[in-house]
Subunit: 251 residues, 2 copies
């Protein structure tokens, strides 16, 4: 028995998220079916995270147990030949048998990409939010600073998902806001994320830019958990799981 730790990227535009479900095709289903076909055995993968419908990944880690003797390099090559063009295997290593892509994950970084120009960019239609106004980057950076650290992010969680978690306290390691030409990239790293947390945080930063929320509202949102003090939930198209962190040499 071997335990494969695999890193992949996907364009989520055509998928109903990562996790298997009955009413739509998912990344998990496509990867499991492809790996099962390749290895001639039933493959069940464990993902580092869930991603919602339409969300992308520049790095997503999963693991699975296999009796196959296939070399890692051969697995990468064969999977990339068999998978659809919008999913790609980036790396594969043999990990200790107790490596678990979700439980061993120590943190993640997300990217939210915004295209700011009056007219939409036809090449970013599924991979960035089109925002037809100017962003106040300085104010957004100042507001973002307030969110860094260990806080109760209940106000930045999808209401229906609040009851599914034991705690809404999370640590945000860093938030960067970088603008280059018409692209604004907001990267948020942390030890864990609530449902829609990144999309609500970036929605709040846009409200800050628009003057619809103040820095005081953010402080209040963290203190009280009042969802109304935060901004709206942005669409999935701009969101990418960007990097997944594991302890060094863990696998």
């Amino acid at each position: 028995m071997r335990n494969f730790a695999v890193s992949m990227a996907y364009n989520g535009a055509a998928y109903h998220g990562f996790q298997r479900q009955d009413n739509g095709i998912t990344i998990q289903q496509v990867v499991e079916e492809t790996a099962s076909r390749l290895l001639g055995e039933d493959v069940a993968i464990i993902g580092c995270s869930r991603t919602d419908a339409g969300v992308h990944a520049r790095q997503f880690v999963f693991n699975f147990k296999t009796d196959s003797a296939i070399p890692c390099e051969g697995f990468i090559r064969a999977m990339n030949a068999l998978l659809p063009e919008d999913i790609a295997i980036l790396a594969c290593e043999e990990a200790p048998l107790d490596f678990h892509a979700r439980y061993c994950c120590e943190g993640k970084r997300y990217l939210y990409r915004i295209y700011t120009s009056e007219v939409r960019d036809v090449f970013y239609r599924d991979t960035a939010l089109h925002y037809p106004y100017t962003l106040d980057i300085k104010s957004m950076r100042e507001a973002a600073e307030l969110l860094v650290g260990r806080h109760d992010f209940a106000a930045f969680c999808r209401a229906e998902s609040l009851k599914l978690v034991k705690t809404t306290v999370r640590t945000v390691f860093d938030i960067s806001v970088e603008q280059s030409d018409n692209i604004t990239d907001i990267k948020i790293s942390g030890d864990g994320f609530l449902h829609n947390m990144v999309r609500i945080i970036v929605g709040t930063l846009i409200y800050i830019s628009e003057g619809k929320r103040t820095k005081e509202d953010i402080v209040c949102a963290l203190d009280t958990g009042d969802r109304e003090k935060a901004g709206k939930t942005l669409p999935a198209c701009g969101l990418y799981l960007d990097e997944v962190y594991y302890r060094k040499r863990e696998y």
Copy 2:
């Protein structure tokens, strides 16, 4: 009667090229139908060029005659609301009645985009050529220099299309080869282009990088028109009409 000169961008992945045809949906058909619906009259547009199936445009200019009183700004806004997400109107001006997007065009620049990495990029699947090896940029630039100027480009034309043109002599103004991270952008500007000319030129530069063609082959291709001395025709996905040139203040 007014003559509208319109600039647009499109992601060509889902279209059978610009020009109307019976066996597939085209950019021209979608734009004409949308404008006809908006203006309440039959609209027939004249494009600056044809583009093949799957080819993109960062700038494509067309003109059309209209009896409508719609302001140019209103036309841009309404068209962008009605058009599919992969076509966008960038600009619209009222031009002199004799402005003709094709006849008045004095030159064009094309971009060919190559993604060089062992594994494909899931975000460029329709908008760049995936080339899993390293490119020899220096050799490509040296070879490109040989193509700049007024030459007979018969060797760089789709064979079936040779009989459709009066002359195969064209002037290439400039060829640039720029690499940044995993993206190599090759831009070719000239007074006119033969069918597949850009895709064959870039295919030849890749053959130069691979050592499958020499600079002498390029000189020979220009001298003799021998298609075999040039490289292969690259796929449409990496090709963009990048900019269209008109005499200043013509419209």
